[in-house]
């Protein structure tokens, strides 16, 4: 017997008798014998619980835990202990998509709360129940614009995270959407370049705030010309900054999208995170994925259901807004619990702490005279420094001391040789930042 299989020999015999066959193999007679797998599988032998623990201790031991000054789309953030305790409850963890509302009200209600909070943060009217991540959310926003405007060109700022751009490129390629890039100057989206590219083929404009370089973009005055051009204005945003930064709603955006990772989700080697999307009321029927709505039951009692489903794949098939079925529901719950705990004051406090830490660190690093600022723009929790020392060697040196240094921009863009994108979130304390500065200075002496 094995713990994953409950049947005794007697059970199997009784069941076969009921079915009217002699052996289980008889139930597979419709499969051509040439494709029945006869050989033993070349797989490892089953491990007991004790053995898998040992094996995983060995494997995980090959990952190095480091003090992180690296962001670039994944951030070391505060995760209150309450979250894991609640999200690991089996009623949330082991349930399926809430197709049967009478026994899924817990799930449906937290999605409703998630939608409410995303609308509140972004300053927009409607939100969906989540998509996969920030990059696919942006791709979905692109398709919303293309379908809504019946146009086929997208403008995207070069100051958007290149990983998001890569995903946009893939989706655009297969759907034959034309991409045109908006220039950046001093790590900031060029408004002149953006406005010059608006024409009657442009379905939408994608910018990121704070952008890839950590710069807080001033997007005032863009919504009007974009809308006058009958294009949609799409902002990819970091939700953890929205308690303090001007919202997409205030900026005049039609769609806000992004990654909810910064709302308390661990970096976890890239996933699971959660993509979110919010939009103006006019676009509600263009949104992809699940949407939960409030209604009443036969007794008039408030309850929640999946709604506006005529947008979705199981009803509309090839005419659906998107093919998304499973989303990242449990991670949406993770962020709802985070936002509930942090609440009105905590979200702003965390944002300001990250902001102040990054500014403290930037100043301290510049003081070493080994770096200078790459731009004079306002930034949030990430900033670009031009290094007077070789960034590759510096990062390797810091790595040996247990420090995960900033992103070596030269590795992703040859024009940015010896530039480095540092990050300091709310998780870094003064001592850790001072320690980084000391070690950076130590590198100078080593050389």
């Amino acid at each position: 017997m094995n713990k994953y299989f409950p049947h005794t020999e007697g059970d199997i015999k009784e069941m076969l008798d009921k079915i009217g066959v002699y052996q289980v193999e008889d139930l597979f007679k419709d499969i051509p014998s040439s494709v029945i797998h006869q050989k033993p599988f070349n797989l490892p032998s089953a491990l007991s619980e004790t053995e898998i623990r040992e094996e995983m201790a060995r494997i995980s031991g090959r990952n190095q835990k480091m003090v992180s000054f690296l962001g670039a789309g994944s951030y070391d953030v505060y995760t209150p202990s309450v979250i894991n305790a609640l999200t690991s409850r089996q009623e949330f963890l082991t349930s399926y998509t809430p197709y049967q509302p009478e026994i899924s009200q817990g799930n449906l209600q937290y999605i409703f709360e998630f939608q409410s909070m995303i609308c509140e943060l972004t300053g927009l009217d409607v939100a969906n129940a989540s998509v996969y991540d920030g990059s696919t959310a942006t791709a979905e926003a692109m398709f919303m614009a293309v379908v809504h405007t019946k146009r086929n060109k997208m403008l995207i700022s070069k100051a958007v995270n290149p990983r998001i751009i890569d995903v946009i490129k893939t989706y655009a390629h297969f759907r034959d959407v034309e991409l045109e890039f908006i220039d950046e100057e001093n790590n900031q989206t060029s408004k002149t370049s953006l406005l010059a590219r608006l024409d009657d083929q442009v379905a939408g404009v994608i910018v990121q705030n704070p952008n890839f370089y950590g710069v807080i973009e001033n997007l005032d005055g863009l919504a009007e010309p974009i809308h006058a051009n009958k294009s949609l204005f799409i902002m990819n945003v970091d939700p953890s900054t929205l308690a303090v930064l001007k919202t997409p709603g205030e900026t005049g955006a039609d769609i806000a999208c992004g990654d909810g990772q910064t709302l308390g989700i661990p970096t976890a080697f890239g996933g699971p995170y959660v993509g979110f999307m919010a939009a103006t009321t006019a676009l509600v029927r263009r949104l992809p994925g699940r949407i939960v709505g409030a209604t009443t039951d036969l007794d008039g009692k408030r309850g929640f259901v999946l709604t506006l489903q005529a947008r979705e794949q199981h009803i509309r098939r090839e005419k659906a807004n998107s093919n998304i079925c499973s989303n990242q529901s449990l991670m949406a719950l993770h962020t709802v619990i985070y936002m509930s705990l942090l609440g009105k004051t905590g979200l702003a406090a965390v944002a300001k702490q990250a902001y102040s830490n990054a500014h403290y660190l930037c100043e301290a690093l510049v003081k070493t005279k080994m770096f200078e600022k790459a731009n004079k723009n306002p930034f949030f929790k990430e900033f670009v420094l031009k290094s007077k020392v070789n960034v590759g060697e510096l990062n390797k040196y810091l790595g040996t001391l247990g420090i995960l240094s900033g992103l070596n921009l030269g590795e992703i863009n040859p024009k940015l040789q010896n530039q480095i994108l540092f990050c300091a979130t709310e998780m870094r304390c003064k001592e850790q930042m001072d320690d980084l500065v000391r070690k950076v200075e130590g590198f100078k002496n080593v050389r």
Partner: protein, 477 residues
């Protein structure tokens, strides 16, 4: 308090967090860049939050509490050891852009899980970058399209999909800018070869097939279908939604499939999380490996590393997919082992056929003969109740209902998938409840029409929800 939203229990001044005191000076954000509108977020204590979400959880139903025979969803038990392994701080705290030499463990998980899935499916390599099944479908179709494009065969932009397929199949084709050709099924729900031949031409990029199909029937002509498609210059895509039926018994690669996706949250026991995160790894034959999404995990000179290549379809996700889900699937595979993997499909199929034989006198069985991992009925034999009524009444007996009104080949579809993890006693109890409900439908149909009777809420008004959408808290105000 029980039925309130988190916003409705908020009281100004309360907090549920504790942050370290900042030791650096406060820096101000330039005024013109700041938020001017209010922020109406809840103000609640930690205990408020714990009680609120614990109570919400009690309004849900999970696999740990009872039988969840949702067809096509493979709601097998999610072993607790998987979660424990995924909670390891050396996985949870790892940054995705850490240098490869400091993330060898994570890369090993990806590489070794791919190897195990390859052995089980007969394909060469898997990419875990897709986040879910439908994402895997779109990724797989991109590979299919790109294969033809790189051969300068620009005409091939059509995908053949049986009418019995999941809605995600045609929707995924649209996401990739491909056209769908729907082929009708035979009375048995299988592919109609004659009809398939009629639609074959040099514009067909490939075919998407779920096998066993959504009616739970194995495509017995699969080898002929693959041969026809390949002779036509087209590729075969295997939708892994129903892989559990065949796990350890038969391999899609051996049936002639070139590309497939797997739902780790179905076949490989990772939790569904109320609708995600899942994981939809895509596997391909050797000649298509270069087309897999960027980046791939490779093993060279005794080191794992990430590699991007110019022939790839490109990136489909910000990083490398839902890593912690893959850790769970890896744990399941290692604890299942080569000795037991052959049992999965067999026991799943045994269980489905046992339910089929036990209920066929009470529920209409549209397709006779052995089913695979799931059985589809077409409503009650007797009595005045619909499949919806039966589903709702099942809740009163403590079960999650099966999938209803899918597949669309039948008007009253009731699709039951028991999985291999369920005992004979569980199945017997469920069968007894289903038979009781069938009898109730004859004797007292109103009992079914008004069901459920024991849940915290009764049937909800879907029409009202769609007509006047209330989708956030402030819509109530």
């Amino acid at each position: 308090m029980y039925d309130k939203l988190i916003f409705e229990i908020s009281k100004p001044g309360r907090v549920g967090y504790s942050l370290p005191k900042s030791e650096v000076k406060d820096w101000d954000i330039p005024e013109e860049l700041t938020r001017k509108i209010g922020l109406d977020m809840p103000e609640v204590t930690e205990l408020d939050v714990v009680r609120h979400f614990t109570r919400l959880s009690l309004k849900n139903y999970g696999v740990d509490q009872g039988f969840y025979p949702l067809g096509s969803c493979t709601m097998k038990y999610n072993p607790k050891i998987n979660d424990e392994m995924a909670g390891n701080p050396n996985f949870v705290g790892l940054h995705p852009l850490q240098p490869a030499e400091t993330a060898q463990g994570a890369l090993e998980i990806y590489f070794q899980t791919s190897k195990m899935l390859s052995e089980l499916t007969g394909l060469a390599e898997f990419s875990f970058n897709p986040f879910a099944g439908a994402h895997g479908e779109a990724t797989g179709l991109m590979i299919m399209k790109e294969y033809h494009l790189q051969r300068h065969d620009y005409k091939r932009n059509k995908v053949i999909i049986p009418d019995s397929a999941h809605g995600t199949n045609p929707a995924s084709a649209s996401v990739c800018g491909m056209e769908t050709i729907v082929v009708p099924s035979t009375e048995l729900g299988t592919v109609d070869i004659a009809k398939l031949k009629e639609v074959l031409n040099d514009e067909v990029a490939g075919m998407m097939l779920t096998n066993p199909n959504t009616v739970g029937i194995f495509e017995k002509d699969i080898l002929e279908i693959s041969k026809l498609m390949h002779a036509n210059g087209s590729l075969m895509y295997y939708d892994g939604a129903n892989l559990n039926a065949l796990l350890g018994v038969s391999r899609p690669g051996d049936m002639g499939f070139d590309i497939m996706h797997i739902n780790l949250h179905k076949t490989f026991s990772t939790p569904h999380g109320g609708g995600g995160p899942g994981s939809g790894p895509v596997g391909v034959t050797k000649n298509l490996v270069q087309l897999l999404p960027n980046p791939r995990v490779v093993f060279e000179n005794n080191q794992y590393r990430l590699q991007s290549n110019p022939f790839s379809i490109g990136s489909v996700s910000g990083f490398y997919g839902n890593f912690l889900v893959v850790v769970r699937a890896y744990t399941y595979l290692r604890t299942l082992g080569k000795e037991n993997v052959g049992m999965v499909g067999k026991m799943a199929v045994l269980n489905a056929n046992y339910i089929k034989e036990s209920l066929k006198d009470y529920y209409k069985l549209p397709i006779k003969g052995a089913c695979k991992h799931e059985v589809v009925f077409d409503g009650l034999v007797k009595g005045e109740a619909s499949t919806l009524d039966v589903a709702k009444r099942l809740m009163d007996y403590g079960y999650h209902p099966p999938t209803i009104y899918f597949p669309m080949l039948f008007h009253q579809s009731l699709m039951i998938e028991p999985t291999e993890m369920e005992s004979k006693e569980t199945l017997d109890d469920f069968i007894e409840a289903m038979i009781k409900i069938a009898k109730e439908a004859e004797e007292n149909p109103d009992l079914l029409h008004n069901a459920p009777h024991t849940t915290i809420i009764r049937r909800l008004d879907d029409v009202k929800a769609a007509r006047t959408p209330i989708i956030k808290y402030k819509d109530f105000l």
